[in-house]
């Protein structure tokens, strides 16, 4: 049987908020699924429903052909029976137990001790959670969850309790630990850089509904609708490779083109993120300009959405520019036109793959 999580559930809150999630996530091959959406979209609610900590009003949840919940048949497994490793935002470590006792809490001793070793927690084993750093707490919480041999890991904003510097440093660590654990994981986040850095697959939830789901690049690259596009925020997410660096700038190859951007220490394969608003369009290349990246191509489509126009430009790769509808009219943009796009090096963001 294909490893898959199928969830279709509705839950209405007294506040009027309604969660109405219909989701099928292939688990296993893509190790990490990101549940992405703005705050208040219902991400945490959905996670709690999956873990069995909250009851939906109706629907069904299946994991790998095993029924966890089915309102029609009156089935609802308790959290204990579902065995999801739930990582709370602030980790919820037992404050009265040592690090070692936390990891061993619901696990066989040998397995727990192996994880304590593997996660580098041995030097902290005798300490209480209050006496270790946020990043260390996160590792303890992950080790504790994995020690109980979960079928599925659920992580609620796992990096939000950390300060900005630690967050950036631990992103790749967390990704590595999740992939190495071999347990499929669903990570809730509202941070798109985090989503790109952690996930293979992504589901976007807006106002309680799953609006789009798919491989992370395709969701970022081709949002299903304007609301998804707005919530993911970045119009252009392009796979690239760093091919050179010089005096504070790096050169990234995207398709057959090269872009320059500010060197923030990345190397190798990256996602290149460019917001549509940061792309300037012009009929001709200006003679003198501070802009580092100038790309010429052919207009493929012009979509006017209210006061804005989305222009799709084929310049060796697809580049989406967002300009005012007025500018698009003044330039007389039409599909097939030759056009130049300019992107300042400082507005190009790189996210490590």
């Amino acid at each position: 049987m294909a490893a898959e999580l199928k969830c279709r559930c509705r839950k209405r809150r007294a506040s009027g908020f309604e969660l109405d999630a219909d989701l099928a996530i292939p688990l296993g091959a893509p190790a990490v699924t990101v549940l992405f959406g703005p705050s208040g979209a219902g991400k945490t609610s959905l996670l709690r429903v999956l873990a069995g900590l909250e009851q939906p009003d109706e629907g069904s949840i299946w994991l790998n052909g095993l029924c966890w919940y089915d309102s029609a048949r009156g089935i609802s497994l308790r959290p204990q029976q579902r065995r999801t490793g739930f990582l709370f935002q602030d980790y919820a470590l037992f404050p009265h137990l040592t690090v070692a006792a936390n990891v061993r809490y619901a696990a066989r001793r040998e397995r727990a001790d192996r994880l304590i070793e593997a996660f580098g927690l041995a030097p902290l084993a005798g300490r209480r959670p209050g006496a270790i750093s946020g990043g260390q707490q996160q590792r303890v919480a992950l080790a504790r969850a994995l020690a109980a041999e979960p079928a599925l890991l659920l992580l609620d904003e796992p990096l939000s309790a950390l300060d900005a510097a630690t967050r950036t440093r631990l992103r790749q660590d967390l990704r590595r630990m999740l992939v190495e654990s071999g347990v499929p994981a669903i990570v809730v986040t509202h941070d798109r850089v985090e989503a790109m850095a952690l996930g293979d697959w992504m589901a976007v939830i807006v106002e309680g509904r799953i609006r789009q789901a798919g491989p992370i690049q395709s969701v970022f690259g081709r949002p299903a609708d304007a609301q998804v596009a707005e919530s993911v925020g970045v119009e252009n997410v392009l796979p690239g490779e760093i091919v050179g660096r010089d005096s504070g700038l790096v050169t990234v190859r995207v398709g057959a083109r090269q872009l320059q951007c500010v060197d923030r220490g990345d190397s190798g394969l990256v996602f290149v993120c460019i917001r549509g608003e940061d792309v300037t369009l012009s009929r001709e290349l200006p003679h003198e300009s501070s802009v580092r990246n100038r790309l010429c191509g052919v207009v493929r489509a012009v979509n006017v959405e209210g006061p804005l126009a989305r222009v799709e430009l084929d310049c060796g790769f697809f580049l989406i520019a967002v300009v005012t509808a007025q500018s698009a009219r003044d330039l007389g943009l039409r599909p097939g036109d030759e056009l130049c796009a300019m992107i300042k090096a400082t507005t190009v963001h790189l996210v490590a793959v």
């Binding site: 959290p79 204990q80 739930f86």
Partner: protein, 224 residues
């Protein structure tokens, strides 16, 4: 000094405290975590002994456990003796009388524990009962200790309920406070003074211990 009465009061207070631990912990758990709409009714009933005159409470207990009530009749059939004016009857009354002194600090202790810790334990596959034992009870220990100490102290000093339900039988129902009352009635001020001093010293020690253990839970409470 009436050592027999002091010993009886200690026995009564210890038994009451243990019974209240068995009853009060589940009740406090239910009050803390239940989402029933009518929960406030149960809370009000539990708090009733705080405001009710002991004689009123004692009167109803006497009716409830008397041989003419179903509960009293059943007890008489099983044990062959009656509840009123016996140590067991006194125990029933004391448990009811001290119920809020156990339940309220324990419930406050439970409420102070982060609910996510319990949820984390459940998700790790640990049952509700084991989670109670391994996470909730250890973290709420100051509240549980406060409840136990106050139940003990409150039972040590009770008078009105004892008089209504237990009467004044030496070695069976004559507690310390009744003994002091008797001594004063008999104009034996020296003996009454000695016994009172023992009770005063004990109560002060117990309360000092309570405040030292957990200020926050008890500080806002009226001392009856």
């Amino acid at each position: 000094m009436d050592w027999q009465a002091i010993w009886l009061s200690v026995r009564l207070a210890v038994s009451t405290t243990f019974i209240l631990l068995a009853l009060g912990l589940p009740l406090a758990y239910w009050i803390t975590f239940s989402r029933r709409r009518w929960k406030f009714l149960v809370e009000a009933v539990v708090a009733l002994p705080l405001v009710l005159p002991p004689t009123v409470l004692g009167f109803y207990v006497l009716l409830a456990i008397g041989p003419r009530s179903p509960a009293g009749a059943l007890y008489e059939r099983i044990s062959g003796s009656i509840l009123p004016f016996s140590f067991q009857g006194l125990l029933v009354a004391s448990v009811l009388y001290s119920l809020p002194f156990m339940v309220q600090p324990v419930a406050a202790g439970f409420a102070a524990v982060d609910r996510r810790l319990l949820e984390a334990s459940w998700c790790l596959g640990v049952s509700h009962l084991a989670t109670f034992r391994r996470v909730l009870a250890p973290l709420a220990m100051p509240g549980i200790a406060t409840g136990a100490i106050l139940s003990f102290a409150h039972t040590m000093g009770e008078f009105g309920v004892v008089l209504m339900v237990g009467g004044n039988i030496a070695g069976v129902t004559r507690t310390v406070s009744i003994s002091i009352y008797d001594q004063v009635q008999a104009l034996d001020y020296a003996a009454a003074g000695e016994t009172s001093l023992v009770l005063l010293g004990l109560s002060f020690t117990v309360l000092a211990l309570t405040y030292a253990l957990q200020r926050r839970i008890w500080a806002v409470w009226p001392l009856s």
